[in-house]
């Protein structure tokens, strides 16, 4: 019997706003512990939350990027529980009316487009961070109140590859919309997932197991693969009872999942509407305004690159990873550069310079228009690819437009007439070699090419030279 996994994902991502979501403290927690705190972040009596407009704006932008339905009013709820990292004793989140519901994100896997269904996206605040030691724990409230969006999918994913493709597309989407830096190394993205296994062709989902707080994409993959193995083994061995509705955690050292608590022990968060934040109308005008800021998303670009431009998956991936590079590429194509040529130049030469100099493409001197100057000259065979590379480097070094280097000194000679003249001269001056060639010494062809190159200081177009030479020698 074959078992199919069904996976749903909850992803938390920190927004890159200037200040926290309900206080004026700076949103930047990787500094000295407890240095970015407003009274609210430590729940001092009498403090009140004030909603950060920038956080709402970014959350709304993400909801629109995910094609969500937007509620008519913005409102928040309290999620009540006691934990030392939660100073107020409740988290302000969105339960009743998330900022977006019923959306989707398109992902591409094996050149196939798949829609991942989004149940909802909501805006909430992060907790303080804790460092645990043997007999004490340290609290850092810099993270308390950092804006988070939580994006919840429907249970619609069926392999770890799909999940990873979804996560990578989502991460790119955050970056494309300038909503989050989405850096897993800084803990800006955290995942919970639930997974169940059911027999192939059986509609009813199996028992749902939740795995909480996974902090890297690699571990998400490991956790899923492990759970698939564990649950499949249990089912195949007739030990269905081993799969219970429970919450597990992923253990990085053993690369396994470990049970934390059973469903029956689940916490009642006693949600209710946050009374300190009045309901705020979300107008159509505002939605339209934010919608305009949503750029073309990575999945759509991926589709274009793969299916329209026929690029390799590798090229497409490396173009899309950075929105600015993708924008640069799109501009090149819009200027009329052949997509494959543009992709080659960008993924090899341009990226090489960016990496070497550790700069972003926005700081890169050559604009798509300038790059076109070079590529055009290759296309009309005025310069060789080696020359093109030299001009590319020279232009960068001297911060000048490439066209300034297209002098007669370095231009490739592709003029048929001119080359014919040079070749005829050479042949006339080397009658014995011509005679030998005609008598079967084929390798003398190379000698003639050499002579042409010598005469032109290497600037003769090799293809044209070879064609004319053949023509003249066969006369």
């Amino acid at each position: 019997m074959k078992y199919i996994p069904t996976i749903g994902l909850e992803l938390h991502c920190e927004l890159n706003t200037k200040s926290k979501v309900f206080s004026k403290a700076i949103n930047h927690y990787n500094e000295i512990p407890n240095s970015h705190i407003a009274p609210l972040d430590m729940a001092y009596p009498g403090t009140l939350p004030v909603v950060n407009k920038e956080a709402v704006h970014k959350a709304l932008k993400m909801a629109l990027a995910l094609h969500c339905e937007i509620p008519k009013i913005l409102m928040f709820d309290r999620k009540n529980y006691y934990y030392p990292d939660l100073p107020k004793g409740y988290q302000i989140t969105q339960m009743e009316k998330p900022i977006g519901i019923n959306g989707y994100l398109e992902i591409i896997l094996n050149r196939q487009v798949k829609k991942v269904l989004i149940h909802d996206i909501h805006l909430e605040e992060d907790t303080a961070s804790m460092d645990h030691y043997d007999d004490f724990s340290l609290l850092d409230y810099n993270r308390a109140g950092v804006p988070l969006v939580e994006i919840v999918t429907e249970p619609c994913l069926h392999s770890s590859d799909e999940v990873i493709a979804y996560l990578e597309t989502l991460r790119n989407t955050f970056k494309y919309c300038d909503i989050s830096d989405a850096d897993t190394k800084l803990g800006q993205i955290r995942c919970d997932l639930n997974i169940s296994m059911q027999e192939e062709n059986v509609e009813k989902l199996g028992t749902k197991v939740e795995i909480k707080n996974i902090n890297s994409f690699a571990n998400v993959k490991n956790a899923i693969d492990y759970e698939i193995k564990r649950q499949t083994a249990a089912l195949e061995n007739g030990k269905k009872e081993e799969i219970t509705q429970e919450t597990r955690r992923y253990d990085d050292e053993t690369k396994t999942t470990i049970s934390m608590r059973q469903k029956s022990e689940s916490i009642d968060y006693k949600y209710f509407v946050e009374p300190n934040i009045p309901k705020i109308k979300i107008t159509e005008e505002y939605i339209t305004e934010v919608q305009k800021e949503v750029p073309q998303l990575p999945a759509a670009r991926m589709q274009k690159y793969l299916l329209e431009y026929n690029l390799s998956e590798k090229d497409a991936q490396s173009l899309i990873k950075d929105k600015n590079i993708s924008d640069y590429f799109d501009e090149c194509v819009a200027l009329g550069i052949n997509p494959q040529l543009a992709a080659n130049w960008i993924t090899v030469n341009v990226t090489g310079v960016l990496n070497k100099e550790d700069i972003s493409i926005k700081e890169f001197y050559l604009t798509p228009k300038m790059l076109k100057q070079i590529i055009d000259k290759i296309n009309d065979k005025t310069i060789s690819s080696k020359q093109a590379k030299d001009i590319f480097n020279q232009a960068l070094e001297e911060k000048k437009e490439p066209k300034e280097f297209f002098t007669s000194d370095n231009m490739q000679i592709s003029d048929d007439k001119k080359l014919k003249e040079i070749i005829q001269n050479i042949l006339a001056n080397n009658p014995s070699q011509v005679a030998d060639y005609k008598n079967g010494k084929d390798n003398l062809f190379k000698y003639f090419v050499g002579q042409v190159m010598k005469e032109t200081k290497g600037k003769a177009n090799p293809n044209i030279t070879s064609n004319i030479l053949k023509e003249e020698l066969n006369k």
Binding site: M42, P45, G46, T47, K88, G89, F272, P275, N276
Partner: protein, 477 residues
């Protein structure tokens, strides 16, 4: 200190007011047996001088308002060592005008209780008779104003916590429209019901103080722009075309099965007040409100306030502020702090609140209470389409004896209707209107949202028909 703010301001202007602050501090210290104060700031002085009427005027602040550098306990052991590092917006505003906070007043612990008997520092005693309660939770604030220690005190009102003690102490208690005064710095009890307001000895003083403390505050999203409201300027010497209504089911003696003598007296007194209303040109009409709706006021208030309170006070763990509890684990430390810190009434209400918020109970209690709240507010708003306000007696008796508190029935409609003002965020003011057993009783006027000027003006004119304006409490031997 029996004077009005205006006359005190006059003295200050004539350079005769240097001793006013010192005198208030001395009186506060001398009132120890009544337990009005948690903290008296003996060093309080008028450093900032402005042209405002409040410059140099001493006042007292309920202990659940955050005062920078001054102990703010909300009369709870969970905050017994808490010294805030920021001022509530109302304190900032008063300080900027030159008013001087001379101390923090005792209250029912965390604002819950309504009697003035549950403070961690003991029972607050009524300045007219120290064997009786002041009512609460703004107990010390009502008491110190009634005693003539300060001309005004700040209070907070979640169910009737300003207006009821005002009535029991013979002073004016005013709860403005929800949002008129910022709640930033008020220790939240039930955020959707909490208001900051004033205790004064006359209506005009209430207008002066609220004019000074009201306004949109960037730190409180529920605060409102009221720049077009000027309360003092709205007080007129004559009224025209005002109409009030009273609720038959609350005010008619026939509605009560076995009315006590006290109740009869209070309702008679109320009818006398209505006559005075008519004398000054206020038309008063009787209206009927479904008794089951009125009976729902108390449980509705209890459910919503307990639910919000249990969440709001979850920050009291002793981890960040307040005395650190004992224990091996964080949970033990928090549990110890809360078990030792709260009085039994608080614990009971937190358990009720927590029960109400449980997933399986929310629909049955919390959501239903919110629906009933809406029904009550809709009914009252409906009345306000025809009337300028609702006039009702504050209570069916004078302040009870401290020893008899436990015998008090909690769910009388007459004792709980003031919460209507909190449900709707309506402006509501109680003024003294008579005496029973030599103890003050009060009458309440509640009006529509943001119609504070009208409500105050009616109270201002009604106050003039009676002899209780600016009265100072005296113990009758």
């Amino acid at each position: 200190m029996s004077k009005t703010i205006e006359s005190l301001a006059q003295e200050i202007q004539n350079k005769k007011g240097e001793s006013i602050i010192k005198e208030a501090i001395a009186k506060a210290k001398a009132s120890k047996e009544y337990n009005f104060f948690v903290t008296i700031d003996e060093n309080a002085s008028n450093d900032i001088k402005t042209n405002n009427l409040l410059s140099g005027i001493p006042f007292a602040t309920k202990d659940n308002l955050s005062t920078k550098g001054i102990l703010s306990t909300a009369s709870s052991n969970t905050l017994k060592d808490y010294v805030p590092f920021f001022d509530a917006t109302v304190i900032t505003k008063l300080k900027e005008l030159g008013a001087v906070n001379i101390g923090k007043t005792t209250m029912d612990e965390l604002g819950m209780g309504g009697t003035g008997t549950t403070a961690a520092t003991g029972v607050v005693k009524n300045p007219w008779d120290k064997t009786r309660i002041t009512g609460g939770s703004s107990a010390g604030s009502a008491g110190c104003v009634a005693s003539g220690i300060v001309p005004f005190a700040l209070g907070s009102d979640t169910g009737d916590s300003i207006r009821k003690p005002a009535a029991y102490c013979g002073v004016v208690g005013y709860k403005p429209t929800y949002g008129l005064v910022s709640r930033y710095g008020l220790f939240a009890f039930a955020s959707s019901l909490d208001h900051v307001g004033t205790l004064t000895r006359n209506v005009k003083d209430a207008a002066i103080v609220v004019d000074a403390i009201k306004g949109k505050d960037d730190k409180d999203m529920t605060s409102l722009d009221s720049s077009d409201i000027n309360l003092v300027a709205s007080l007129t010497e004559k009224l025209d075309n005002k109409k009030l209504c009273y609720i038959k089911e609350i005010c008619n003696i026939e509605e009560y099965a076995n009315p006590s003598e006290d109740l009869k007296y209070c309702l008679n007194n109320f009818k006398e007040v209505l006559k005075k209303c008519e004398q000054i040109g206020i038309e008063v009409e009787e209206v009927s409100v479904d008794k089951s709706l009125l009976a729902a006021i108390f449980p509705t208030y209890r459910i919503i306030s307990c639910a919000e309170a249990t969440s709001n006070y979850s920050n009291l763990t002793g981890i960040i502020f307040g005395p650190r509890g004992q224990g091996k684990t964080v949970e033990d430390i928090m549990m110890d702090h809360r078990s030792k810190g709260f009085c039994s009434l608080i614990k009971r209400r937190f358990i009720i609140g927590s029960y109400i918020l449980q997933k399986e109970n929310q629909e049955k209690y919390f959501k239903k209470a919110q629906k009933v709240r809406r029904l009550i507010v809709d009914k009252i708003n409906d009345l306000f389409t025809k009337y300028d306000g609702l006039i009702l007696p504050c209570s069916g008796s004078c302040a009870p004896k401290i020893v008899k508190i436990k015998d008090q029935k909690q769910d009388d409609i007459l004792e709980n209707h003031l919460a209507i003002g909190n449900f709707g965020g309506f402006p509501s003011i109680s003024i003294p209107c008579g005496f029973l057993h030599n103890l003050p009783i009060g009458v309440n006027i509640t009006g529509k949202v943001l119609d504070d000027a009208n409500v105050l003006n009616i109270a201002y004119n009604l106050e003039k028909t009676m002899n209780y304006k600016n009265q100072i409490a005296k113990e009758q031997k």
